[in-house]
Symmetry: C2
Subunit: 221 residues, 2 copies
């Protein structure tokens, strides 16, 4: 019985991965770069997306955002839309992560042709999103310093599958007991050499280096 | 097909609820009070448990803790054990929530007889734990002010099933844009009259009122 159950799970995962590959092909066909932004609730995913939009709009980068939300509220989508970028919202209906099918359906609703950069905001969760590839070029985690320095040790799976780590809310470091060395030691164990950008979306500190990295990834059309 | 699938899901939920009832009976048989503590990663669940332990040890309250962790690390369990209270750790093996069966197995490992208060620390997640009753007397959520004031609107399900809300890290309020009125309006919509305690586990502010409420719930033996 156990063996049979494992086989079914594998089959579901493969269906997701196959659809993720289709998503990637659709994004690459229009020469866009794409990122999947994951984090705990309240780590600053939307603030990070908006800070990125505000910086790149001046550079004439055409952006689109897919917003994943577990509840049918448009708080984040409204903020992104107000920043001047087209946004498609996925309501997961209580589900705890995005999957490749949801993103595929969202891509159907977007005008992909002009896109240079697609940002996908996943559901706020450090566990479940780690198991589902969406087809984006990079998986990005926003760790937030008020969450504490032990998170890589406690939520290892999400750290293992990352291309980029953002450490947000560094403006709060003076008011917290956050041991950066201990945090980074945990990250290094799970994902050696992981590209890391400490930032504050509130003050703008550190965003320049992230934007430099991102701009180098966006294909020239 | 859809109808059949819904029936299976209902059956699983009922199995969990039935086992939750068994857990409750086991806890009540020894005249203990029990709480299920849920929160985002890093909201301060373990700090809150330890602050509660430190206050109640002097009052000769016999406590026990069940620690839910998605990874096999003993960071939180070590802290609770160091505080002088017996702890049983549940490694969920990547699972994103505790369920009644896991708690039932943990109860088998505990010396229940002397217990006055059982505290269960759920996995750090604002979505999945909301769907699984554990059999405890109260479901408690720790919301943390750095997470932002929009969380009730975005993660409504977990707020609907609460008996108590703790608002933690209020010492950070001067450094954050957190609109307490907007936050509490969201909570009130979902769970009118919800018992709420704003606290700082770091400074101890507000803990007295929580402890007063809790002590009144613990049965006299």
């Amino acid at each position: 019985m156990t063996e049979k159950r494992i086989k079914i799970v594998e089959k579901i995962m493969n269906a997701n991965d196959q659809l993720a590959t289709v998503n990637r092909q659709r994004i690459e066909a229009v020469k866009a770069y794409s990122i999947n932004i994951m984090a705990s609730p309240g780590a600053g995913k939307t603030s990070f997306i908006i800070a990125t939009i505000q910086a790149l709009l001046n550079d004439d980068v055409h952006m689109g955002v897919i917003e994943g939300d577990t509840a049918p509220v448009t708080i984040d989508s409204d903020k992104v839309s107000d920043a001047g970028v087209p946004v498609i919202q996925i309501n997961t209906g209580g589900e705890c992560h995005l999957d490749a099918l949801m993103v595929n359906n969202a891509l159907d609703q977007m005008d992909l042709e002009p896109l240079d950069l697609l940002m996908v905001e996943n559901v706020g969760n450090l566990i479940c999103p780690a198991a589902f590839q969406l087809g984006t070029h990079s998986n990005i985690l926003i760790a937030s310093v008020p969450e504490g320095d032990d998170k890589p040790y406690k939520y290892p799976n999400i750290y293992r599958g990352l291309e980029v780590l953002i450490i947000n809310k560094i403006d709060l470091l003076p008011y917290l007991d956050f041991d950066m060395e201990y945090f980074q030691k945990g990250v290094e164990m799970l994902n050696p050499g992981l590209k890391t950008f400490p930032v504050s979306c509130k003050t703008g500190e550190g965003m320049e280096k992230w934007l430099e990295w991102l701009k180098a990834k966006i294909p020239q059309k």
